[in-house]
Amino acid sequence: MEPLASFFGLSATLLAIGIYGLATKRSAIRILFSVELIYNAANLNIVAFARLRNPPLVTGQVLVIFSIALAAMEAAVGLAIILLAFRLNSDIDLRKMTRLKG
């Protein structure tokens, strides 16, 4: 099997791509994509660390099950908020949603 460190490197790469998207994109749906990518990076990290232990630990996998389910809920609520914002503003450009700015 591949050394587990490769999985950590890949996880860091996914996290970096996600942060790049969070900081540069303007569409709310792309921001949601970035959040999902960061979730995936974290899940990959947790599974790899659970595999690292001797003997391998199944609690890490249970934690990832919970994490994936929570990510699905977050996506559902986030998309509902995006729909609502589109109905109110007829646009989903996050840089233009400045109504709450003082």
Partner: protein, 165 residues
């Protein structure tokens, strides 16, 4: 050949992630995101976590990507989303990403974490289900309640009010 498998899946994951953020059309972006999730699921299989991989495929590709596709069809792209502006933020993000990749590369040096042992019976499915359904059964029940609350909340948010809209 796990090496080739790992590099193939890693390439699929990273390319899918980049395409999801950079593709011109949001629909293609959503599909690329699904491909990236599929790559992560394959990596879970490589890590001897088969159930997590199946769960990832079912939840992410079966539910999240389909939900995103429907939303994209309803909403459409942001008006005037042009090519990425290269400004100070982009430079800052570039430096940050480079630093993170440096940390990842340092971790990925062959000396670090190289001891991994074959999967013993401790990490098989029976042990996993024992842990999920006996040790963490209360947490699982609470999770389902949270799920119900999230779905009701999402429905309430997205419901179109006939009077105002």
């Amino acid at each position: 050949m796990p090496d080739i498998a790992f590099f193939g899946f890693a390439a699929v994951t990273v390319l899918g992630a980049i395409l999801a953020l950079e593709s011109r059309d949001l629909v293609y972006g959503a599909v690329s995101l699904g491909v990236s999730f599929l790559g992560v699921a394959s990596l879970f299989f490589l890590l001897d976590a088969a159930y997590i991989g199946v769960f990832q495929i079912a939840v992410y590709i079966g539910a999240v990507v389909i939900l995103i596709l429907f939303t994209v069809m309803l909403v459409g792209p942001a008006k005037g989303e042009g090519p990425t502006e290269f400004r100070r933020t982009a430079l800052f993000i570039g430096i940050l990403v480079a630093m993170m990749l440096g940390v990842g590369g340092a971790l990925a040096s062959p000396s670090a974490f190289s001891t991994n042992q074959p999967c013993t019976p401790e990490c098989d499915l029976a042990q996993f289900s024992q842990s999920l359904l006996v040790t963490y059964s209360v947490q699982l029940a609470v999770l389902s309640l949270v799920f119900a609350a999230a779905v009701i909340g999402a429905l309430t948010l997205a419901k179109s009010e006939r009077g105002t809209a």
